[in-house]
Amino acid sequence: MSTFENPGFLAIELDGAGWDGADLTRAVLAAESAGFHAATFTDAPAPGRANALQRAAFAGPVSRTIALVPEVDTVYTEPFHISTQLASLDYVSGGRAGWIVTAAEAPGAAAAVGRSVVTGAALGQEAAASIEVSRRLWDSWEDDAVIRDVATGRYIDVDKLHYVDFRTPAGFAGPGYSVKGPSIIPRPLQGQLPVLAPASLIGGVPVEAVDAVLVSAPTPELLAAEVRDVRARVGAGVVVVAELDLVLDARGQAAAARGASFDGGRAAFAGSAASLTDFLADLLKEADGVRLHPASLFVDLEELGRLVLPELRRRRALRPVVQDGTFRDLLGLDRPASRYATAAAAPAGAGK
């Protein structure tokens, strides 16, 4: 639980920066200089929305502190590709990458790859399988697998590479599959990327498989209680992040008059920067972090950076932003040993 002794973090969803490189750079730098700890990139199909992971990758070299966390679907996307792409994102961001797991229940996503629609409990199974494949592949090169040993002519130590031999479990709802491994890329800089999943998937996805859950509620008033409920369900070892849509009074216009419409099924806050500050200060006592979805990226981001974040920081509600820190550092997670590491016994919970 976050208290003022244990301050929280803020993430901002950068949807709205479009696909243009200049806009993306402007958005991620604005979020970083405003003091946000993480930027997220939605990937739900929408006209004009470019691939989330590539937008995050583009932002990697131009930013320095902010974590870059794309949504990546687990149902209709190849697990081997997901794993490699996310590991690569960790390389291009210097260890600031994370993964918001989504499980598309969209007929359109199914038709695009010629599969039948996955629904209900099967969504969680698909997501769980993809997470497991990625995690095993990330571990499949031990940290010191690249040895560059001139005397023996060996670039890698083959004993430190591992076949993951993943097979979908018995009772898997969809078509079963297997993945051989090892990865084609060395272990990510963070060892394991932090995996975030919506609370709605937990159950189908074992809670042990994720590092953080995203919590939604229908109204701002219900959000703190929902965070408490979810925390009770997932236990103390999992980071809890509250989801909040927002529209602020800005540029002389009242929030209510800005005509924002939200359809993410999340709690929506409309009002002044001062009232949002109070709201977030309270919410951050319950949640480890809050992910903000602004109605208009650049308009609201300006208000947040100018009025909200400085005041939250003054009230010691926010963690410091760490130069060259990893996303795991921000979330308070240790860097795990590879599950396949032979040199020493892996510590408990190394599966993450």
Binding site: W19, D20, G21, L24, T25, P45, A46, P47, G48, R49, A50, N51, L53, Q54, R55, A57, F58, A59, G60, P61, V62, Y76, T77, E78, P79, F80, H81, T84, Q85, A87, S88, Y91, V92, S93, G94, G108, A111, A112, V113, G114, W141, R148, V150, T152, G153, R154, Y155, I156, D157, V158, L161, Y177, S178, V179, K180, G181, P182, I184, I185, P186
Partner: protein, 462 residues
């Protein structure tokens, strides 16, 4: 170089090939190969972003048209285990290129992506995304894969027969083109794209508009007759394994014929063979440098391992500085992990040939393997001025449109090319002195695809 020399082609008729008189460079950052020297002290990391940044930015300083990345789908093996001796470890091509897009302004960004273990709608969307974030600099190097060994990492497994790979690839590419072509106006909306084929069904309403270069440029790397015809129908640029002059001229003739047969212009498909450059101020220094490069590429262990691929058995008891093994190869067992040009039945025959050849020439294992593996045909060795003269001749005849350079050192492997060879080429008037525009299509002097009446895209020169 604002006046593109390709304009000359308008003087001739579309069925006459007209040399551009120019050489373009691309760079292939290889993540898995035996040519990259990792044993030298100045060798850097093969996976750090800084290595990629340095090579891409150096290439851009040298006005290279394109930066290429390969695709990894399964780790190479040697005698049933991951291969330990060569550089290995390859980030995802498009993720890396998206990151490089933010630290470069002009250079084209080419992702090698196969048509077998990707889904057309997903791949087309990702390439369109890369094309948009980079401002029209993306390209797709189309490759085909068809074996169950690679398929072991994917949901579909090994589902595709070797004989069907180009048929499958072509349907895939055409579906991708329809997806990129589906955005009606700058504001949308997109037309729904349907494809029902033998192997997959696609039903998608695309999400992204056209980029500044209309759609990603298409490269193709196959060299079989089917591969060449496929390129002639679908691609903008073909890689070839024909960098020697006479061979390159022959290849050009063949490709022009195939392009015309496909209903495209004689200049429709450009040629960029893979190549290696070993350069120095003088010929003698370059020759010495080549010895050094080869000795680091093929050490004693690499020499033995090379033979082991073909022999299918362990040969570590043999002296790399001695003669080829008298022991016979294992013939009953073949797999994708052994030499690509190798199949079981040929093993004994090949071993006999090689033993005879090595004996005739008096070569040790190491010397023999060096002679087989060094990219002799694709290596330009010499002084900066001599190699510049050589390349100017290629440009004059139009044997190739450019070279795709594989640096043997990461990340400094382009420095001498950009600092010394490029200025020599510019002096000879055969290399750009500035980027022609902002998109890869413009750098290469390709014409934009045009939309036909029914919405299909055809090459402007067709």
């Amino acid at each position: 170089m604002t006046q593109h020399t390709r304009a000359k082609s308008q003087v001739g008729t579309p069925d006459q090939f007209t040399p551009s008189g120019q050489i373009q460079f691309g760079v292939f950052f290889q993540g898995v190969n035996s040519g990259t020297i990792w044993k030298a002290p100045e060798s850097g990391s093969q996976t750090d972003f800084e290595s990629f940044r340095r090579i891409a930015q150096t290439a851009e300083r040298g006005l290279f048209a394109a930066f290429f990345l390969g695709e990894g789908l399964r780790l190479r093996e040697h005698l049933g285990r991951p291969h330990a001796l060569d550089v290995v470890g390859r980030p995802d091509a498009q993720t890396m290129l998206a990151a490089l897009a933010s630290v470069t302004q002009n250079i084209g960004l080419v992702a090698t992506q196969n048509t077998t273990y990707n889904d057309p709608a997903d791949l087309a969307h990702r390439l369109a995304s890369l094309d948009l974030v980079s401002g029209g600099r993306a390209a797709w190097n189309i490759v085909t894969t068809d074996n169950a060994w690679t398929g072991a990492n994917f949901r579909r497994g090994g589902y595709l027969d070797h004989a069907d790979r180009y048929k499958h690839a072509e349907a895939f590419v055409e579906t991708a083109k329809r997806i990129w072509d589906s955005w009606e106006t700058p504001d949308g909306p997109a037309r729904r794209v349907l494809h029902e084929g033998q192997h997959y069904t696609v039903d998608v309403t695309p999400r992204l508009p056209r980029s500044a270069q209309y759609r990603p440029v298409l490269f193709q790397a196959g060299d079989s007759p089917e591969g060449r015809s496929f390129a002639a129908r679908q691609a903008d640029v073909i890689f070839s394994a024909h960098p020697t002059f006479d061979d390159a001229v022959e290849f050009r003739k063949d490709l022009v014929e195939r392009s015309l047969a496909a209903g495209r212009g004689a200049n429709a498909v450009q040629i960029m063979p893979a190549s290696e450059f070993i350069l120095a101020p003088t010929a003698a220094e370059a020759a010495e440098k080549k010895e050094w490069v080869r000795s680091l590429q093929i050490g004693p262990q690499q020499a033995i391992a090379y033979l082991e691929q073909f022999w299918g058995r362990e040969l570590s008891a043999y002296d790399p500085d001695g003669p080829l093994p008298e022991i016979d190869p294992v013939v009953e067992e073949t797999s994708e992990t052994r030499g690509s040009g190798f199949h079981g039945a040929k093993a004994r025959q090949l071993a006999d040939q090689w033993r005879a050849e090595a004996k005739d020439k008096g070569l040790s294992i190491r010397q023999f393997v060096t002679s087989k593996t060094a990219r002799i045909d694709s290596t330009f060795t010499g002084s900066y001025t001599a190699v510049a003269d050589q390349l100017a001749e290629y440009a004059r005849v139009g044997a190739v449109d450019g070279f795709n350079i594989s640096p043997w050192l990461v990340p400094s492997g382009l420095d001498d090319i950009v600092n010394h060879l490029v200025p020599e080429l510019q002096e000879r008037g055969v290399y750009p002195t500035e980027y022609r525009g902002s998109t890869l299509r413009e750098h290469l002097g390709l014409e934009a695809p045009v939309r036909s009446a029914d919405g299909a895209v055809a090459a402007a020169r067709a």
